[in-house]
């Protein structure tokens, strides 16, 4: 009987520790994942409108969020991650990519992302901004669990972002050979 009680107590402690562990792990995991996307933004060359400080901070935050969510969507083949950060044609393209990956049981994993972003155009009325992103990351293309490719790549992206109700959203994300 005593052994049963001790076992029950041990089980309770183990359960509490597991939950605590989960609670602790999740934020740490999120933090790590967030930190896996490094973005530097340079707005000095933006024209014809100068980028306001608040806008600069928003772009930095929202572009980083876009890459974070896109990486998750393409790694876990879940289009739900695309909500909020993308709009228009690029959202359709990414949704199509996820659907295509789901059908073929393929996925892609982006890690160690570093983005050097330069704002090259900011519309006179502030309703669209063009960014040039030189992105470096480790790219894995997977067939199920088997990695087909695991390579470090440098890709140039032309990005269009527009302001939405409470954030900037990505409307175009297009890789180009060079700027």
């Amino acid at each position: 009987m005593r052994r049963t009680i001790v076992n029950l107590k041990s089980a309770s402690v183990a359960a509490i520790l597991s939950v605590a562990g989960l609670l602790l792990c999740c934020p740490l995991h999120s933090y790590a994942a967030d930190n896996a996307v490094q973005v530097e933004l340079d707005v000095k060359k933006a024209a014809p409108r100068a980028v306001e400080d608040l806008t600069e901070r928003s772009i930095l935050r929202d572009y980083r969020f876009a890459w974070l969510t896109m990486s998750r969507a393409l790694e876990f083949n879940s289009p739900d991650f695309l909500e909020g950060a993308f709009a228009g044609d690029v959202k359709g393209m990414l949704t199509q990519t996820v659907a295509s990956q789901q059908r073929s049981h393929l996925s892609r994993r982006y890690s160690d992302q570093s983005h050097r972003v330069e704002a090259v155009f900011y519309a006179p009325e502030g309703d669209v901004m063009e960014l040039h992103d030189t992105a470096e990351y480790q790219l894995q293309l997977l067939d199920g669990d088997k990695a087909l490719i695991n390579e470090h790549v440098v890709v140039h992206y032309v990005v269009l972002m527009t302001p939405a109700a409470d954030r900037w959203v990505v409307r175009q994300l297009q890789a180009v050979p060079r700027f």
């Binding site: 014809p48 044609d89 393209m93 199509q96 990519t97 295509s100 990956q101 059908r103 073929s104 049981h105 393929l106 892609r108 090259v120 155009f121 519309a123 006179p124 009325e125 309703d127 669209v128 063009e130 040039h132 293309l141 067939d143 087909l148 490719i149 390579e151 790549v153 890709v155 032309v158 269009l160 175009q172 297009q174 890789a175 180009v176 050979p177 700027f179």
Partner: protein, 295 residues
């Protein structure tokens, strides 16, 4: 080399025989993929392969993630729907080992344009008051990054008020210009070749100019009204614009706001004593009149 080493010749022969035997079932080594050097969005492409036997081919890019069985020695066909998005693609060929290569698909010829014009309503004769931004896209919604000439035009009643050809830089062309002198709708047009995109800007009269009032005493009070209110270039100021009449007399100071209706604002001021009445609209002041006391 004048004579062959018999031992080395034997080794080469052995290697050649092994390769020939192996090629019946598996390739001797991973292939070097020759991917398209200049693929265009929406156009089919091919990738040649060498050797024989079966392999698995993967194509991963924007909008695409495909896996298919292919026969080595035959061309791999990339159909146009798989290449409709501009961007970077990875081609991967796996048999006993995998080889891969990346290639870019660039936008097709321009077919559409995003054209943003601001503002939708603008006072006449304002400096740098109208701006437009144009981004060219192909029929698959890819941004066209090659430089292009975009023709901008402002027209009113079939007359061209302003035009300019602007070459895209970083895939965008834009303009900023003054608003015209006449109230009414103005079309802002951006065109690439023969495909114009139109937006409408409503030009409205600017601030009133030479605001003048007349007034007379009646039994009910002082009736004041403006002369027809125009801006400085002669456009009638739109109905609803507020005009403020201020009377100053022995009873103190009073104000009455009245909207312009059909170009004229009217008000009744109840002041039995002699009064000085002034008028203003926004930051514009008009004349003053003096009306005598009630008899």
């Amino acid at each position: 080399m004048t004579s062959a080493d018999p031992e080395m010749t034997g080794l080469f022969k052995l290697f050649a025989i092994m390769c020939m035997a192996a090629s019946l079932s598996l390739p001797c080594s991973a292939q070097e993929l020759r991917v398209p050097s200049s693929a265009i969005a929406g156009e089919a492409a091919t990738i040649p392969t060498t050797g024989s036997g079966n392999a698995t081919f993967y194509l991963m890019g924007p909008g695409t993630a495909k896996k298919s069985d292919v026969t080595l020695g035959e061309e791999i066909h990339l159909p146009s729907p798989d290449l409709q998005y501009a961007g970077n693609y990875s081609a991967i060929l796996c048999s006993n080992s995998c080889s891969s290569a990346n290639f870019y698909v660039t936008a097709a010829k321009p077919a559409a344009m995003i054209f943003l014009v601001h503002p939708s309503r603008v006072p006449v004769a304002q400096g740098d008051a109208v701006s437009g931004v144009a981004f060219p896209f192909d029929r698959y919604h890819n941004l066209v990054t090659a430089p292009l000439n975009v023709n901008f035009q402002l027209t009113a009643k079939d007359a061209t008020l302003w035009s300019r050809s602007v070459r895209t830089q970083d895939s965008v062309a834009w303009f900023r210009t003054n608003s015209g002198n006449s109230a009414g709708p103005v079309q802002a047009i951006a065109s690439l070749d023969d495909e114009p995109v139109r937006r409408v800007v409503q030009q409205v009269a600017s601030e009133p100019c030479n605001l003048r009032i007349t007034g007379e005493r009646t039994r009910a009070g002082i009736l004041v009204q403006t002369e027809p209110v125009h801006d400085c270039v002669g456009n009638i100021v739109p109905d609803g614009t507020i005009v403020t009449f201020t009377s100053t007399g022995p009873d103190g100071k009073g104000t009455v706001d009245a909207p312009i209706k059909q170009g004229v604002a009217r008000a009744k001021i109840e002041s039995p004593g002699a009064s000085t009445i002034s008028v203003a609209s926004g930051v514009v002041l008009g004349n003053e009149i003096r009306v005598g006391a009630q008899p």
